[in-house]
């Protein structure tokens, strides 16, 4: 099996006349943490979402863990191996915290109730909110909801975790609790692709920073070189705006 768990080749995607991706190629190795940054509309979310086929590419190829994302029957297989965390959490409001974490385990992984519940409680312990197991999402703070969403994705024991601006909808004092969970995950060796402007997290966890603009990858490199010594004008301009 190849060493790269995600292979994206020449990805193209348009929404009507707007070109979101224009020939993006990227490889992510096993256990690697990649942080994608870029201005809004640069295509970074589209790229992330196309990895588990929430967006369908117009052209190009994506292979996840050796499975090409082309045939329909592969998509659910890949999705079960790729966890996704959304900006808006997207917890299921009609289910309790545990119910959220159980659902796909039971249906997709076909685990027994006891087995699934054990995993759910272990993961709630891991993300630091075991006491909220029987609460409903609406009774939790944003930070707690996002941690439940991370636990829900982890319950599938994915090989890759995708994070789509996981802290952008959070109040500042809750950002850290989510980032701490993500840092733990990175230390445990989880392969992660993260769209985020949290530079602290990027410096601490990312092996590579990918800077995107206008549907292309402009610059790729380790955080210290991209942040302190960007080679491209556009990267410099963008960083000067967000790093202040």
């Amino acid at each position: 099996m190849e060493n790269d768990i995600i292979i994206i080749e020449d990805a193209h995607k348009s929404f009507g006349r707007v070109k979101a991706l224009t020939g993006v190629s990227l490889r992510v190795g096993r256990g690697e943490v990649v942080v994608i940054v870029g201005p809004s509309g640069s295509g970074k979310s589209t790229l992330l979402r196309s990895i588990n086929h929430l967006e369908t590419l117009d052209r190009g190829r994506i292979v996840v863990d050796g499975i090409p994302l082309t045939q329909a029957e592969n998509i659910n297989r890949v999705r079960a191996e790729v966890g996704m965390v959304f900006q808006q959490f997207n917890l299921f409001p009609h289910l309790t915290v545990v119910g959220n974490i159980l659902l796909a385990q039971r249906i997709v992984r076909r685990r027994t109730a006891a087995e699934a519940e054990k995993i759910a409680h272990e993961l709630l312990e891991k993300v630091g909110i075991p006491e909220k197991a029987d609460s409903y999402p609406s009774q939790l703070s944003g930070g707690q909801q996002q941690r439940v969403a991370i636990a829900r994705a982890l319950a599938m024991q994915p090989k890759v975790m995708l994070f789509d601006e996981p802290t952008s909808a959070l109040d500042p004092e809750m950002i850290k609790e989510v980032l701490d969970v993500m840092l733990d995950l990175a230390r445990d060796g989880m392969t992660m692709v993260v769209v985020s402007h949290e530079m602290g997290f990027a410096r601490a966890a990312a092996r590579r920073i990918v800077f995107m603009d206008e549907g292309r990858i402009v610059e790729v490199g380790p955080p210290e070189s991209v942040f302190t010594n960007p080679r491209h004008e556009r990267t410099k301009l963008f960083l000067s705006r967000i790093l202040r």
Partner: protein
């Protein structure tokens, strides 16, 4: 469908401390109308008791037709609603055509068409097939001379007509659930059907409950139209009583009061269910 038991979706009611269960004043109206009926029947047995006895079997027909139709309408609406949001243009087109046609023809005309005209149409089709393709004469013969039972025809008509309106309610309900819910479910590896079944529909049901309840009450009233297709419902029984006794005022006062009791009672039940289901949300 996987052999997986649906999770308990209705949270336990959480009664806030110090809050006594509210008594809904609208129940008073229900009891008031029931009381008025009782007074009329007990206080002036002739003719009110006679009318009540005469139309009682009609009340049951009305209730039966409403409930049987409503169950089928809920199913037809779900199928139609899922068809309306389908990406497949053929399914979407068929569902949209159904909704548009049915919404454009009055219910009474549809009922009459199904009971009186549809059997003739089927006979003509059957004869056409039999003469064109003699090999199919056997199966085509089944279409010839069908006589629908009035009750069946009425239920069928209501299902088709209300099913179209119900499709739109389901569609709106499903579309009111944020897109992220489906994405989250799909990203966990669940199929479209599984996501609908376990994530979207349980949430949509809460949203559509008020309009669905309204449809039930509307159906209860519209069920009086079946009196035009030879079903002996409450309205038809009232008409029969009136035509033999000529007591129009008394008959229709009583019939109207009976309908009022049924509709008031059902709308109370609907809002009670609504309250139950919104707890913990």
């Amino acid at each position: 469908m996987p052999d997986y038991e649906a999770p308990q979706t209705i949270p336990k009611p959480t009664t806030e401390p110090g809050r006594i269960a509210r008594f809904d004043p609208w129940w008073l109206l229900v009891f008031g109308v029931v009381g008025l009926l009782a007074i009329l029947i007990a206080g002036k047995p002739d003719p009110f008791r006679r009318i009540a006895v005469f139309v009682t079997d009609g009340i049951w027909v009305t209730i039966r037709i409403t409930i049987v139709s409503f169950v089928l309408i809920l199913i037809a609406g779900l199928i139609g609603g899922l068809g309306r949001i389908a990406k497949n243009p053929l399914i979407h087109g068929a569902a949209s055509l159904y909704v548009e046609i049915v919404r454009g023809v009055p219910l009474l005309v549809q009922l009459i068409f199904i009971y009186y005209a549809a059997p003739q149409l089927l006979t003509a089709i059957g004869e056409g097939i039999a003469s064109a393709i003699p090999a199919l004469a056997g199966p085509a013969g089944l279409l010839i001379g069908i006589q629908l039972d009035p009750f069946v025809a009425a239920v069928f008509g209501f299902t088709i007509c209300y099913g179209a309106y119900m499709s739109e309610i389901y569609r709106a309900g499903i579309q009111s659930i944020p897109k992220g819910q489906m994405e989250a479910a799909r990203s966990l590896g669940m199929s479209y059907t599984q996501s609908m079944r376990y994530v979207i529909l349980p949430q949509a049901v809460r949203v559509i409950l008020p309009p669905v309840g309204n449809e039930f009450v509307a159906l209860l009233k519209d069920s009086s139209l079946v009196s035009a297709v030879a079903v002996a419902d409450l309205t038809r029984r009232g008409r029969e009583f009136m035509s033999t006794t000529l007591l129009s005022l008394e008959t229709w006062t009583l019939v109207a009061l009976i309908y009022l009791v049924m509709t008031l009672f059902s709308s109370r039940v609907v809002s009670y269910i609504e309250r139950k289901m919104s707890v913990g949300k």
